[in-house]
Symmetry: C2
């Protein structure tokens, strides 16, 4: 089976050429600045996909211990779990450490640091820990200028079986920066604030081996990332409508799509009903506050050509409703019963999460491979 | 392992007592009206859960052919696949039919009817088909008074290897009815319009064996469901914040929750950071337009006691941010690092979809069973 027409819809497609081009774009940024790129594999969570942008010879970022375990088993040795760790996950650390020498966890409070320090005594191998720094008031992390940052770093450095590896941040607020100028300003802020945190630690006698920062918009903002030595980003591998809406990529760069079939119409309303609902697309509406609301996804024909003005305007569990911004009548030649369409995802991480595998589309428009995905925790 | 403290978070919990009480409530409505209840198993997609509310001896509704195949393999014989069928799924029908004698698909256009009629010739067994009727301008279906309804029914009745089984509808618009009166009116409309469709077909010489309607709000609206002989609903088994917001249930009836751990804080902002982000909760924000916006879920302590005013105000992929409506400071005794909490889902179907299994909580508050779930298509 290698033609799209033989697939059961909905199915998740990955355009290999666009995916590779996106991966090369980010690698070129890191290379030009002599920064280590530590790709976040959370979007695709696929060992086969990672061969193209996050090979086992290099460092990666993961969002779950399930990813960490899978990638560690496949030979990855430098894995950063970039989510604060709850104590009920401590029992999983030893097995991952045995496979991945530089497996690293993060903390952003003295409570978490103390819990890790207590537990580290039970581990055979030293536990690598980084501190998370808040550079954008967006989510987690210690403030760069805070005493608690120094107290935590000191506690980690002093703990018998812990290796304090440095500091990391993620300027998630960049997803709300809808101009190149604001993305550049956020990128500068991200670098300056984490560099300040590193300087404060150094002044307190605690050097940072790693000073790690990044998000797709700030990494690709075209600035010089001064004061960090590691760049992290993830969604750039596929991009999505949110990124296109921010101008970080073109719609044509979006490498992920959902193949769907037309299952019906509401003629009076100019609606096309497809078999991709929120189960296939996710409930993410990340473009709702952008200049152009793409609903639950932009519509392409089966070959991936964007159909201007057509978008998924509503979803139920297994139904999507496609309509046109100017309420045009859907032409039968494109939207007839049984026709295949592709939907470009609003948020690739959320759409990809609804699948256990990807159908990879090669040069000839046929399926060249099926790649698996690690779900769960 | 049977204590919650031994679980890896996030995890999806099902309160057995609440679940059973919810199931009994809907069954009592159907029984009192002498209607067949055809539960929709799409919320939990679990054979073990279905034993409590949708046993193999009775009819069920499914949302995917993966569910249909799983339930057919487990002995279910009367399975309604309540989503319009695309031609690329026709090849899956024969295997399900062989196991499930009364497996039934739906159509809502002459194009789909003709495609089914053509394909039915290749099947060993007659294919049961129902027509979908639109009673609320909400999604799919033929209009009750339309000529096309009669044309489609006539074509199905005349097709050699097709068994025309009747008509079905789902008043999805009831999810926007936020008063008991409007839910009752929608329930009346749902029944009247599909009964009119059945009358029009009968006048054209085409009787309907099944006249099937329902949604959780209209089924529980406390009206007499006149003119139908089958009631369909699904989310009542667990309920969720959307249903509680409509007054269809109490918050205390919600049987599904996500167990999460506190992984950090932003003290200045009165934020609690937990390890349940949108990957664990889904991106559904179905209460955003209700009187009370519950964000991504309401917060309970680890025993399931609602913590008044606390809700998940923001999510990223693996991070949830809990805050209080009046910006109260989170007490350490409840929200300290490592503490367990339970999040009540906004939309149970979407939250449950993020998991491959449920941890069932019995009378003693411990885990009494693990139930599996059928994902994918």
């Amino acid at each position: 089976m290698n033609s799209l027409a033989q697939l059961i819809t909905p199915a998740c497609l990955l355009d290999l050429n666009k995916f590779r081009r996106n991966c090369q774009r980010m690698q070129a940024v890191a290379d030009s600045e002599q920064l280590t790129l530590r790709p976040h594999v959370k979007t695709l969570k696929s060992l086969q996909a990672a061969e193209y942008y996050a090979p086992a010879s290099g460092p990666i970022t993961v969002s779950t211990l399930a990813e960490a375990a899978t990638f560690a088993s496949a030979g990855y040795t430098d894995i950063l779990y970039a989510v604060g760790l709850s104590p009920n996950k401590f029992g999983q650390l030893a097995a991952i450490q045995r496979l991945a020498r530089d497996f690293t966890v993060i903390a952003d409070s003295l409570a978490a640091v103390n819990a890790l320090a207590d537990y580290a005594g039970e581990l055979e191998l030293p536990l690598s820990v980084m501190l998370e720094v808040d550079v954008d008031d967006h989510r987690a992390g210690l403030l760069p200028q805070s005493d608690e940052l120094i107290i935590c770093a000191r506690a980690l450095s002093a703990a018998p079986n812990i290796h304090f590896r440095g500091i990391m941040t993620h300027a998630g607020a960049s997803y709300d920066c809808d101009t190149k100028a604001s993305q550049q300003a956020m990128g500068q802020q991200e670098c300056e604030r984490i560099a300040n945190a590193a300087a404060n630690l150094l002044a307190a006698g605690i050097p940072c081996e790693l000073v790690s920062a990044g998000s797709t918009p700030t990494a690709l903002a075209g600035i010089k990332h001064t004061g960090i030595n590691e760049l992290r980003a993830g969604v750039y591998a596929t991009f999505d409508c949110v990124m296109a809406g921010l101008g970080v990529c073109e719609t044509d760069d979006i490498a992920l799509s959902v193949l769907t079939s037309v299952i019906g119409h509401q003629v009076d309303k100019n609606w096309v009903i497809v078999d991709a609902g929120w189960m296939a697309l996710s409930r993410d509406q990340g473009t709702a506050l952008q200049q152009q609301d793409c609903g639950y996804g932009l519509v392409c024909d089966e070959h991936g050509k964007l159909l201007d003005g057509w978008y998924v305007s509503a979803t139920n569990q297994e139904h999507g409703i496609i309509s046109h911004r100017d309420n045009l009548t859907p032409p039968e030649s494109v939207f007839g019963y049984g026709r295949l369409l592709r939907i470009l995802p609003i948020h690739a991480c959320a759409t990809a999460a609804q699948y256990s595998k990807y159908h990879v589309i090669g040069d000839d428009g046929n399926i060249s491979a099926i790649w698996s995905r690690v779900n769960g925790w």
